[in-house]
Assembly symmetry: D2
Homo-oligomer: 469 residues x 4
C-alpha cells in the first residue's frame, strides 16, 4: 500500500482480510461492506471484492487494486442485497492478473455459493488432484475453489454437513465467510490460526477478521468465533456447530506483533496492549544506555512507547515518514542511491543529533531496511544506535497464510544476533525472547503458534504438497 512500500519490503505480510454481513432490510449493506473492507485494508492491498445476495441471486465484483480504487458509487449501486461477503488480498508474486481475486462465486446443485478465505491450505494440491480424478475442473488456483468444490460434491447432505465434511478433508489455516442462497456462514479452523469475530449491528450480524471493522461500521463486538466453530446466520438467527476434533489451539502470534490493526481486540487481547507489553518486556530483557527512544513508523510505535515507559528513557519522534508516496510514484532506482531512504523516512535531526538512540522496530525479516535506517540515523548525527526488536528472530517460513521470503532471505535463519548486528551496523541489537513474547499476550506458553521463531509447526508439513500460492 501507498506509503508502506518501503517499510513493508522488510516485513512479513498478511495475506487476506474478510468480512460478511447478514442484515435483511438494510438498504446499504454494500456500503457497510465497503467501509468494513477499508478498515481491513492493512491485511491485503492487491485485490478487493464484494459479493452480495439479493433474494437468492448473488452478484460479485472484484478487481486488482485498493478497495477505494476497485469500487465507486456506480459499481456499489449494482451490489444491493441482504447478505454480503467481502475480501481484500495480498497476492503472492508470480500469480497472473486478476483471476485469483476473491470472493469466489460458483453455482452448484443447491444454488449459488460464494467463498472468501483468509489462510492457507497445506494439502490443497492433494485434494485438488483427488477432485480432478473425478473429472472436476478448476478455474482458479485458489484454496477457495477447492473448498467450494468439496462443499458442492456433498450437496445432498446440505451445506452445513457438507462444510463439516470439508473441514475433515482440508488441512491448514482458514477463516472463512461463506454465503449461500439464504445464509451467511463463518468458519474458523480447529487451531484458530486465523482470526474471525462476530458483531451485531441493529438486527443484523457481522463477521470480520478484526474488531476494527466492527468499530468502523458501528457494529458491537459479540465474541470471537471459536477455533473449530461453524457459525450459521439465517432467518432464524445465529447458530453454532462445533467440529468434533479436540486439538490444542495455536493462534498466530504474529497478528499481535505486526499484522492486526492496533485498535483491534483479538481473542480477548488488545493488540496495542500486547505491543506495549512487548516493548516493556523488551526493555527489561534488552536494556540500553541511551538518551532517547524512537520508533520505526508506523508499526513500531506502541512497542517503542512501552520501551520508553519501562526504561525511563524519553520517547521522541525520530523518523518522519512521507505519506505522499503513492503507488504510481517513480522508484528512485536511476537516481543517486542516497535518495532512497530519505525520500520515505527522514531522520529528525533535532531529536537524534549527538544522542544515543534506541530504535525500536516490531520485527526484522531481511534486515535490509534496518541497515538503511541505522545509517540514516548516524548520518543525522546519532552517537550510538541501539536496535531493539519487539519480537524474536524470524528463523522459519510460515505455511499458514503469511507471506514469508525464502529461508535463505531471512536474516535470522542462519545468523547469530551478533552477525546481524554487524550487518545492520548497529551499536547493539536485542530481540525479545519467545517467552517474553508469549508473556506480552498473557500466555503461559500455550495456545499460540510461534513456528516462525522456533520451527514447531502446529501440524505436520508434508514436503512437496505445500501450495505456495
Amino acid at each position: 500500500m501507498y506509503n508502506d512500500i518501503f517499510v513493508k519490503e522488510d516485513k512479513l505480510r498478511e495475506e487476506c482480510g474478510i468480512i460478511g454481513i447478514y442484515d435483511k432490510g438494510n438498504m446499504e449493506i454494500e456500503n457497510l461492506t465497503y467501509y468494513g473492507l477499508i478498515a481491513l485494508q492493512h491485511r491485503g492491498q492487491q485485490s478487493a471484492g464484494i459479493a452480495v445476495n439479493r433474494d437468492g441471486i448473488i452478484t460479485c465484483y472484484k478487481e486488482m487494486g485498493l478497495v477505494s480504487e476497485v469500487f465507486d458509487d456506480k459499481i456499489l449501486n449494482l451490489l444491493k442485497g441482504d447478505i454480503s461477503i467481502g475480501h481484500v488480498r495480498y497476492s503472492a508474486s508470480g500469480e497472473n492478473f486478476a483471476a485469483n481475486a476473491q470472493p469466489l462465486l460458483v453455482k452448484y446443485k443447491n444454488g449459488n455459493i460464494a467463498v472468501a478465505h483468509n489462510g492457507n491450505l497445506i494439502n490443497a494440491g492433494i485434494v485438488r488432484e483427488h477432485l480432478e480424478d473425478q473429472g472436476m475442473i478448476f478455474a482458479t488456483t485458489t484454496d477457495s475453489e477447492v473448498i467450494a468444490s468439496l462443499i458442492a460434491r456433498n450437496y445432498k447432505v446440505g451445506v452445513e454437513d457438507a462444510i463439516l465434511n470439508m473441514m475433515g478433508v482440508i488441512k491448514g489455516s482458514y477463516a472463512l465467510v461463506i454465503m449461500t442462497n439464504d445464509k451467511l456462514i463463518g468458519v474458523r479452523d480447529n487451531y484458530g490460526l486465523r482470526p474471525l469475530v462476530i458483531g451485531r449491528r441493529g438486527n443484523g450480524y457481522v463477521l470480520a477478521s478484526e474488531t476494527c471493522a466492527l468499530d468502523t461500521i458501528g457494529a458491537a463486538f459479540v465474541r470471537d468465533v471459536e477455533p473449530g466453530e461453524i457459525v450459521v446466520i439465517g432467518e432464524d438467527g445465529i447458530r453454532s456447530i462445533h467440529c468434533s476434533s479436540i486439538i490444542p489451539q495455536s493462534k498466530c502470534i504474529f497478528e499481535y506483533i505486526y499484522f492486526a490493526r492496533p485498535d483491534s481486540i483479538m481473542d480477548g487481547i488488545s493488540v496495542n496492549q500486547a505491543r506495549e507489553n512487548a516493548g516493556m518486556i523488551l526493555a527489561k530483557e534488552q536494556p540500553a544506555e541511551a538518551d532517547v527512544v524512537i520508533c520505526v513508523p508506523d508499526s513500531g510505535t506502541p512497542a517503542a512507547i512501552g520501551y520508553a515507559r519501562q526504561s525511563g528513557i524519553p520517547y521522541a519522534v525520530g523518523l518522519i515518514k512521507n505519506r505522499y508516496i503513492g503507488r504510481t510514484f517513480i522508484q528512485p532506482s536511476q537516481v543517486s542511491r542516497e535518495i532512497g531512504v530519505a525520500l520515505k523516512l527522514n531522520a529528525l535531526k533535532a531529536n537524534i543529533e549527538g544522542k544515543r538512540v534506541v530504535m525500536v522496530d516490531d520485527s526484522i525479516v531481511r534486515g535490509t531496511t534496518s541497515k538503511k535506517i541505522v545509517q540514516a540515523l548516524k548520518d543525522a548525527g546519532a552517537k550510538e544506535v541501539h536496535v531493539r526488536v519487539s519480537s524474536p528472530v524470524v528463523t522459519h517460513s510460515c505455511y499458514f497464510g503469511i507471506y514469508t521470503p525464502n529461508r535463505k532471505e531471512l536474516v535470522g535463519a542462519s545468523r547469530l544476533t551478533e552477525a546481524i548486528k554487524k550487518k545492520i551496523n548497529a551499536d547493539s541489537l536485542g530481540y525479545l525472547s519467545i517467552e517474553g513474547l508469549l508473556e506480552s499476550v498473557g500466555s503461559n506458553g500455550e495456545g499460540f503458534c510461534t513456528a516462525c521463531f522456533c520451527g514447531k509447526y502446529p501440524m505436520e508439513i508434508l514436503e512437496g504438497c505445500i501450495n505456495d500460492a
Copy 2:
C-alpha cells in the same frame, strides 16, 4: 463500438469472434493474436481476451473493452508463448461485469485447457444441471465452461475422444478454438452454423472466424473447417477427425448479409460479392423509378452498388457518417430531439435535393433508425424516398449465437410490408425475397439457415431450456 452506436441499434449483432495460432518458435505469437482480434473486432466489442501457452503453462488475460483498450505493450509482453487463442465478444445485456469474458482457462486432470466459443448451446441448462447432479461447480454462466467440464470428466479417453463425446452431448451452434498443454484444436458444429477457417503462416497454423483475420496477419488461406470437423494441430502437424453424424448443413446466412467483414471469403463465397449480388437481385425484384441510389453507411454499401449497377440509376454518396463519435460521447438525450440523427448521419443535400432517392440498407430489425433516416433525407429535399432492403423481413429470433431483440420488437414479426412502409414513412419499400437471398450466395435453397426469416430452425428448440446468455 465507436461509430456504430447509431447504426447498430437497429441491427442484429454477432456475438463472438475467435482465433487460434500454433507456431512453435514464433517470437510474436501474442502480437499476431492481437492483430487478428483487431481484424475480428466487428464480431464483438464488449470484451477481449488472449490465452497463450508457453511450454505447457497457459496464461490468460481478458477484460471488458475493445482489443486496443484491453491490451497494451506491457500486458502483451506477459503473454509470450507458442500456442495462443483469442476471443472478442458482444455480451448480451443483463450480464454482470467481466466474469463471462473469454477465453475460459481451467485446470483439469490432464493439465490446462483453454476454450473460446462462438455460438450458442441450446441445451446448456440441461447439461449443466446434469453436471451439477454430479457435484460439479460452475464459476461462470458461459457455454465454454459446460464444454470444458464435459471434456474434463472424460479425461481418461484423451482430449480428442473427450471432444467427440462432448459433441454428442451438446446441441446448438459452435465454432471452438481449444488449447491444451500441447495442442491447438478447432471444432465446428455439425450444421456449420458458425464459420471457422484454417490458415497457414510460415511453419505455423492459424484458425479464425473469418479470412480477414488471416489476411491481416499475413497468413495464407488453406480451407474452411468443415461442419462436424475437429482439427487437431500439434507437433506432428494438422489432423482431422470427423464427427460421424451426417446431417444437412445449415450455415448462418446472416453472416453474408451483415455480420462478416466484406473482404472475408466464407465457405467459398466472397461476402462482398454476395452483398453485391443481393443488391442486383433486389434491383430486379424490387425496381424503383428514381434518380439516385444511395447506401446507408457503412454496411449497405456493396448492395447499393449492386442495385445501382443493375438498375442503371447512378450511385452516389447520400449520407455522411461522423466517425468521431466515441463511446464516451454524451448521448444527446437531453438536447433538442432533432440533433440525434444529424450528429451521426448527415444527409448530403447536393445529392439528395429535388431527387427521387433509392436508399439501400442491408436489413431492418426494429425500423426505428430507418424512419429517422428517411425523415433526414426528406428534410434534405428528397422528392421521394424508396427504401430497398437487401435481405428478407426478419420475423423470428435466433437461438444460435446472434443477439436478436424480442419478437415483439421485430418490426417485421407482426407487420406486413405495407405497414412497415407507413411506419418508416417511405414512398415505397421492398425487401429481397428468401429465394433471392439464397441465389445471392449461389445456393439452390439448401445448406443455409434462414430461420430468422421463416422460422424453420435447423434443430428443435425446446421451450424453457434456451440459455439466453
Copy 3:
C-alpha cells in the same frame, strides 16, 4: 483520429475548426457547442476547448484529446452560459503539452476576451517582438495571444475598432471567433483563406467553420462570412463591419479536395459535388483502360464515383478499412512488416483479382502510402493498377494554416510524374490539372489559392519571419 492514422500520414492536415454560439436564454448552449465541435472534429484531433460566457463571466475548459474525451457531463455542466466559443486543433509537432490549446481566455482592461483561431499568421513573430518591446509577456506561442494582445492595447477605442486595427497589423490567414463580455464576433481574413459561415437557430446565431456543424445542431444556414468582414452579434442582433482593403479573394482550394466534410457547402459550393466533378474531369484528362474503379477510403470516394460515372467503368469497393484501430492501438513496428497495411486497409480480392484497376485518391503528399496500397492491390491479384489523383501535384508548402511536410518530403516537389509512378510502382499515374481543379469548383481561374500546386502565394512570404508553429 482513430481510423485515419494510416491514411492521414500521407495527407495534408487542416489545423483547426472553430464554432461560436450566441443564444440568450438557451439552456444548453454548452451541449450545442459540444455537438458542433464533434461535427468539426475532422479539422483537428489533438485538443479541444470550449469557453462560455455567463452574465459576463467567462469560463474555459480545454485539454489534449478528442472532443468526446475532453468533455463529459460533469465538465459540460460547469460550462453553462449564453454565449460560447469552441475550438478543435491539430497541433504541429514539437509543441509541448497542452499550453497552446484554444480557446485562449484573457483578462484585459475592458473585461474578458476569449479567442479561437483557424489559420496562420505569417508575421506573428514580428508583431510579437514589437509587443515585447513594450514590456508585454506571452504565456503561449499561439497567434491567438498575439491577436488578443493587439485588441487589448487598443481597449480605449472599443473592441470593434480594436479588431479593425488588429486586422491592419496582422498578415496571414484567419477565421476567428471572439467572445467578449457581451458579444460574439466573427472575423474572416481579407483573402477568405479560411472558411466561416453564419447560421441561425431559433433566436440564436451560430458561427462555424463549416455548414456540417450547423446541420448537426439543427441550425439553418444563413450565409458565409465574407472575406474581410467582421460580424458582431449582441443584444441588438447581428451587424457587419467591412475591412476597407479591397483585395482579390484567395480561398483555400484544398478545403474542397480533402479538408472539409463532404456534406458541407462552402462559399456556395457543395464540397461533395466539387469532388465528384474533379473525378469526372480527371476521367476526361486522364482516361484509363480498366475493368473497375475503386476509391481509397474514405476521402477518395466521391472522386472515384465521379470517375466511374464519366468513364463508364464500373465502380466497386476495393479496399476495406478496419474501423477499430484506436489511438491506443499498438503499432505493428516490431511485427513482420507485411502486417502494416493489411491491418488498416485490406484489399477485397473478389473485386480486384485478375482485373485492371483504377485506384482514385484525392491527393498524394509523400507517396509512401500510395506505394503500399498499390502493392496490396497487386498482391490481391490486380492485373494492372492505374493510379488517378483528383488534385494536381503538391509542390509547395502552405503557410496559411495547413500542416505540410518539408518540401523535400513532398514527392511531387522534385519529381516528374513519371518518376513518381515508378516510385509507387503503378502501371500508370495521372493527376488532375490545376485548370481541371479550378473547373471542378466552378472557377474561371480566380478567387482561389492554389499555391501548394504552383507556388503563387496570395501574399509575400518573408523569409525568416514565418511562424512555423
Copy 4:
C-alpha cells in the same frame, strides 16, 4: 490529500511549496525536482508543476493532482535540463480547472521567464488594473503573472533590477523561485512571511520552501534566504542582492504549529522541537489531572509527547488513523452518520476505557472535528476528555498565503473558550497563550506574525483590494 481529508477539514491550509535547482551537467535534475516536490507535497496537493531549462529553452508541465499522479517516467523524460523550478499548490475553492497551476512560464523581451510563488499579494488587484491600463492582458488570475508582467515591462534594466523594482511595487507575502534563460533566482519578501532555504548538492544549488526537501534529495543545508533578499544563481555561482527597505521581520508562526514538516529546520528553529516545546509549555499553562496523554494523529504528535513529558502523565496511542482512505473513496454521507469518524480515526479502547484522557491537538479552526473525536473517545469509555491545544485561539483570517475560512466559521472568532468547550463537549479545554507560543520558537515576542491569533497584521490590509484567490 489521501488520509488527511478528515483531519484537514478542520485545519488551516498552506497554499504552496516551491523548489528550484541549478546544476549544470546533472543528468537527472528533473528527477531531483520531482522527489523534492514529493517531500514538499504536504504544502499543497491540488496541482503540481515542473519547468526545466535546457540551453535556454524552457519547457513546463503542470496538471491538477498529486506530484506522483501528475508526473510519470515518460513526462519526466521530456523535462531534461540544467535549471529547474517546481511547485505544488493547494488552490482555494472557486477556481476553475487547471489554468492557475504553476510554475507560470512566459516569454518576454529578454527571453523566457518561469515563476513559482508561495504566498499572497494583497495589492495584486490594483497592480493588475494599472497594467491593464497600459494594454496588458492576463491569461491567469495568479499573482505569478502579475509578478512576471512587472519584471517584463522593465526588461531594459535587466532582470535583477527589474525584480528589485517589482519588490517595490507588490505588497504581501512571497517566496519566489524564478528561472530565466540562464539563471535561477530566489526571492523572499521583506517580512520573511514565507520560508525559503538554500542548499548545496555537489556543484549545484537548491532553493526550497523547507529543509526536508534538501534532505530528501541529498542536498546539504546552507542557510535560509533572508527576508528581503534576492539570491541569484548562475554561471558565476551565487550572489545576493538585498532590498533596501529595513522593516521588522514577521515570519509566519503557523509554519511551526502545523504547516511545515516536523523534520524541517526553519530560520534556525527545528519545527519538531518547537512543537515539543509548545506541548511542554502548554502542560505548564494548562495542566490537567489525567491518566493518559494522547495525540490527534498525525500532526499533534510532538506536542502531545511534550505535554506528557512535562506533566509526567503517560503518553499512549489513543486514536488509530486509517491510512487507506484515498481521494476516490466514497464519502459516507449517505450511510448512517456514526460511520464517519470511526472510518478515519478509531479510538483505541484499551488505552482509553475508564481513563481521564488529555487529548492534544495542534490547532482548532472550526471545531467540528474536535467535537467528533471527543465523542468517539467518550464512546470508547473515556471517563473525562481534556482537550489541550498547542496554539492560541484562531480569531482572524490570514491574507498572506494561508487558506482560512471566513471569520464566522472560525470557532474562536466569536466564542469564549468556555463556549467552545461546551460546543465540542470536552470536560476541559485549554489553549496555549500567544506568549507561550512565542516562547516555543524561542522568541522574545518579535520577529513573528501572529495575526491569526491577535489581528495585528504586519502591513495594512486595504479593504476591497484583497485578492482572495
